[in-house]
Point group: C3
Chain length 160, copies 3
């Protein structure tokens, strides 16, 4: 009984901006709902999307980075019109008014639909984000070679 | 008589920055001129590229958004060196000196070459951009599922 | 004796940000090390990654652009937390502490692994960056049509 092969989507999530994460999770959940096999590879600022709660690294620079960029997914700001937090508040408000799900809700939908979350090991080391500070649904923390392997087999590849 | 299948390019245009839009439309027109079937899915800030003229939403936040981001394609600023409009002026000047087409001209070339423009319905709702404020060449305003469908069949996919 | 066809990766490098270039070269070297055929098409700000040394254009605006954006790959700043150079210093420091290669080292690794570097002719003209100011390993400076040709044959395509 030959099973039709699922189409595959592989995304690099480099950005931690609210609006870009929103686009990324919308595409990921949309694809998973259309019966695609979806893998998201989170690297650099994108790792914020996987964090459990505010936490900083241990070195001085790690703590400095945490100060400005330590929050979880709900603390992300839009890439434009950030205005020191006003942009975030404004977009949340506009989205709520239109009954659009929050980022955390979209992420949960992705999990429920079987989207695979992979963390970039090297970024986690450089930015001092240990695995135990990330949500439990992170499937694995691996090097870029693992992403390449996924991407080679994918029908759609995107860098966000 | 078997016709050779056209290669397909599907792009997400998330950015509304002058320089990124320039790159996006250059790739789109280049691909269409090379006989590819091209679809551009405009979402978030990218929707600016499809607007007819300056216009704001109706709610207070919609009007605020319009104040800072309400212009059409000719009002986009580069992602770097924006300097409150100086960057835009400077790039326009440098491009003109080298006989490079403007963004509006590039968009028209894309239309003439048969590039399909699709607007992201959810972003249009959140950002309060009704369809009648967009250029007539916008083929349809649809959800992310329609983009996924296009992307699955595409040979090249890009997120700009 | 049929040789298996190499998988192909085609990237547009639009960004000149330190962190994005880092991601781009990591993916490129990772892919080349996995025996993929890799082409990087550098355009706009991304051209900085190929410059030999600080140099500005000849026109007044070209010189102004050089003043703010004239440095080579080692002068790139991260896309977030730039803080007038502090971000660059901080990331270099954090990466060094974790024995992560520098951007210049990553670029050299890409060259050694046979990654092809292509410069976007139109951007070079607009931004007044002549070929002789770029590193010798730039294979060719061509129009967007050449990139389209590469991308059509590619298994993975990314816009960074």
């Amino acid at each position: 009984m030959p099973e039709e092969k699922k189409k595959k989507l592989a995304m690099v999530i480099f950005s931690g901006d609210m609006d870009k994460l929103f686009a990324a999770f919308s595409i990921a959940t949309g694809a998973a709902a259309s019966n695609m096999d979806v893998t998201m590879f989170f690297t650099f600022w994108g790792l914020r999307a996987l964090k459990k709660k505010k936490r900083s690294g241990k070195s001085f620079l790690g703590r400095l980075l945490g100060l400005f960029y330590g929050g979880d997914i709900s603390r992300s700001s839009p890439s434009k019109m950030s205005f020191g937090g006003i942009g975030r508040w404004m977009f949340k408000k506009m989205m709520k008014a239109k009954n659009v799900p929050t980022l955390a809700e979209l992420r949960q939908a992705a999990i429920d639909l079987g989207v695979k979350f992979i963390g970039c090991q090297m970024s986690m080391q450089v930015m001092e984000i240990p695995k135990d500070t990330m949500i439990d649904e992170v499937n694995q923390c691996v090097g870029v070679a693992s992403f390449i392997e996924q991407a080679q087999q994918a029908d759609v590849t995107l860098f966000v």
